[in-house]
Amino acid sequence: MAEVLRMQDITKIYPNGFMANKDVNLVIREGEIHALVGENGAGKTTLMKILFGMEDFQGGQVLLDGKDACISSPLDAIAKGIGMVHQHFMQVPSLSVAENVTLGIEPGQGLLFDKKKAAQITQEISDRYQLKVNANERIADMGVGLRQKVEILKALVRKCRILILDEPTAVLTPQETQELFVQLKALKKDGIAIIFISHKLEEVMALCDRVTVLRAGRTVGTDVIENLNPTKISRMMVGRDVVLEIEKEPAAPTELVLQVEDIHYKNAENIMTVNGVTFGIRRGEVVGIAGVEGNGQNEVAELISGMLPLTQGEIRICGKSIRGKSVRRIRDMGMAYISEDRMVYGCAANLPIRENMMADRIHSQKYRKFGLFIDTKKINQDIDGLIETFEVACDDRAQPVRMLSGGNIQKVIVAREFSSGAHLILANQPTRGIDVGTTEMIRKTLVRKAREEGVAVLLVSSDLNEVLEVSDRLLVMKDGKIVAHFEDASLVSEELLGEYMLGVRQMTSEEMGEMV
């Protein structure tokens, strides 16, 4: 098969000095599905952004059909036959599929838009590849799976020869995923090369022809699928066999720390995202909440932390209600919070590590001097201690957080939250998108905190492996409600958990039992 794309010795350095790609090589052939795998932060997305003209690069070259191609912008990339389906869809919800698909290349004369023609073009391609999309439907009325198809349609209508899919299955149900695979294989038959970015090795094994593995911004290797198996790939990805299992002793929960009673939350769009959730956490145990993202888990965490106002129901920490209390007061009651989006809620990127680690405790009497001032000596001592304990790779405490890598930023955050002396730790997606080493450290610390210090831990995560390994008890949320409760998370299989998450199964309240 002919080679359509060659990315040679690509090197990309971000303005903060972070080297995202270093001499990366990627060769794509006509009509193949090529998996690009690697951990979060391995440089996959950056490489694809370079290919799609969204990022410039400092070294190497991109060859299309053997010729040097200078791709200056996404528009240029599209013109050269490259299409990209982003994790977040770029669509106008109020417009129809056809209007979205033909946006920017509208058929018609002059300023007039030929709606019929647009629908016809769209429908034709949808039918040819059996994408099952109705060209006249409004985006807002469609499900996530179909909206993804619209993104693919957009690329196809623009006659793409290379289609990039950035973690396309992350938002899909298993059934939808299967359907997508069938359609992708049809595209492949037509000679379209597909670059498939994923973490899910089973999917890679099932779908792809060849695999390129990236690790820490470098190419580890490319091989045909026949020579590989999931263990081999994961070894290439992390450079060692990942210890995915967390060893822990059985929990011995004592008194209740967190009580959540029938809470509800209506968001700005007036949708009831949390709809009657009740559970409790005791000292010494880790309770996990699993669920496909966007089913209310994040809101539950934010309600408990005080980031969202509690309007209906009751939340108590150590027996005291948090209703109407500020985040400050709730933190004083013994809550620590690792938020979902670390760059938005977890740190101030432009400020030094010191300020970031002190943010929740700068008013503490411990750091007071002469009444008005802060004791910088004590602060520096403590910060240096935290940097050492949590092995934050940095120059010194004065380095702005933005210059650190994702994993180290998360280390700064957990160092703060784990050292605040809390009775209750809310860990909301604590290891999303960070390296294995830090992930392991964070998971182990969560368990250790519960076991050794008697902290009550709430772990919200969409990483099944994480919730299953770390949690003692496990809750599953779907559509703002708890649909399953497992007394012992270690007895649950990923498959079973998946069925609850996707709403295939649901427990009755008797099956769930007392959730404290």
Binding site: I13, Q58, V327, A348, L351
Partner: protein, 360 residues
């Protein structure tokens, strides 16, 4: 990574020098075209402020209020609020200080006490008027920029009204207050220059600002709120109180600036238009990158340019409007975050590559 920080810092300095060079280049080109004696003009602009003690004094006359408004705007800018009230309170405070000075003049209050009292009046005026946009913003979420700009005009007209009705002086034909009594004025450190004792007030204010920024919990709060309000909220920082306090303190410093300026270099209160000193304070804060330690540098740079421009204006035939344009070019180039950004990235890229080579 340490390399990155060094490059970033060195680059800042380099960038300012290049910005100055380009601006002076453009200026020079224009002067060549419109001036009969371009060298004299350039000389006056660049070196003029240092050619006599009095001209140096004029530079200080600007430098002193810039220290205060710069520190004030640093509070506002660091908390990431675009509250421009500093402009209005500067003038309002000047007006009220002049009023109180005229009223209490001749009452036999000792010089030091009198001046201290007037400085307090200035700071309080700033805090009082400055609290309005701050409260409206933090309590009711009304845009602080709109409120402060509106209030600036309101304060201008209020001050004008006060001058007209309460400080009437029939020995002059223009709009100004009665003369400020001698015992209320800040004394010149060097006679017949504008270098007056207000410089101590300015230095103290900058030092206090730096102390608050880096040695108090409030300073941490302000910087965190300014850097990332969502993070501040999640960390349990009382944002409402912090941001109100930051803006009020900023306005108080701007008010102090107005008081010092009026008592330092004016015979009467005579501002019938916005003074631009508040906006200049914002420029100083931008030049010093929200870091109070750099305020004296930023204030000096701006004062130097403004003085050079003024001297250029009154010693040559270059029109004053042109002088304003030149200043704008320089400030724009210095303030522009991404000016020469590509060059910086290249430097970092090279350093990073070399480092990786060493590792490999």
């Amino acid at each position: 990574m340490k390399e990155t920080r060094k490059i970033e810092f060195g680059f800042e300095i380099f960038r300012i020098i290049v910005a100055l060079a380009i601006a002076y280049g453009i200026t020079l080109l224009c002067i060549m075209i419109i001036s009969d004696d371009p060298f004299q003009a350039v000389y006056m602009f660049a070196v003029g402020p240092f050619t006599s003690i009095r001209r140096l004094g004029q530079l200080f006359g600007k430098f002193i209020p810039y220290l205060l408004t710069g520190a004030g705007m640093c509070f506002v800018y660091a908390s990431n609020r675009f509250n421009l009230i500093g402009e209005g309170v500067y003038l309002m405070s000047g007006c009220l200080v002049a009023y109180v000075a005229v009223q209490l003049g001749g009452a036999g209050i000792p010089h030091i006490l009198f001046v201290l009292l007037l400085l307090v009046v200035g700071a309080l005026t700033g805090a009082l008027f400055g609290s309005v946009p701050a409260l409206l913003r933090e309590k009711m979420n009304i845009n602080e920029t709109v409120v402060s700009i509106m209030m600036n005009w309101a304060m201008l007209y209020l001050a004008t009204y006060l001058v007209k009705t309460k400080m009437y002086d029939n020995s002059i034909t223009y709009m100004a207050s009665k003369p400020i009594p001698q015992e209320a004025r800040l004394t010149a450190l060097i006679p017949r220059t504008q270098l007056h004792t207000g410089i101590f007030v300015g230095i103290i204010a900058v030092a206090v600002t730096a102390l608050i920024f880096y040695r108090t919990a409030l300073g941490y709060d302000i910087r965190i709120c300014g850097a990332n309000p969502k993070f501040a909220k999640a960390s349990g920082i009382n944002m409402t109180a912090t941001l109100i306090l930051a803006q009020v303190m900023g306005a108080a410093l701007a008010g102090l600036g107005g008081a010092v300026d009026i008592l330092g270099i004016y015979d009467r209160y005579m501002w019938t238009a916005l003074t631009n000193m508040g906006f200049d304070g914002l420029i100083v804060a931008v030049l010093s990158k929200k870091n109070p330690v750099f305020i004296p540098l930023g204030a000096f740079l701006l004062a130097y340019m403004r003085t050079g421009a003024s001297i250029l204006n009154y010693t040559t035939e270059i029109p004053i409007e042109f002088v304003d344009i030149m200043q704008a070019v320089i400030i724009l180039l210095i303030a522009a975050e991404h000016f020469l950004g590509g060059f910086k990235e290249k430097l970092i890229f090279r350093a990073s590559k070399e480092k990786n080579k060493e590792v490999a």
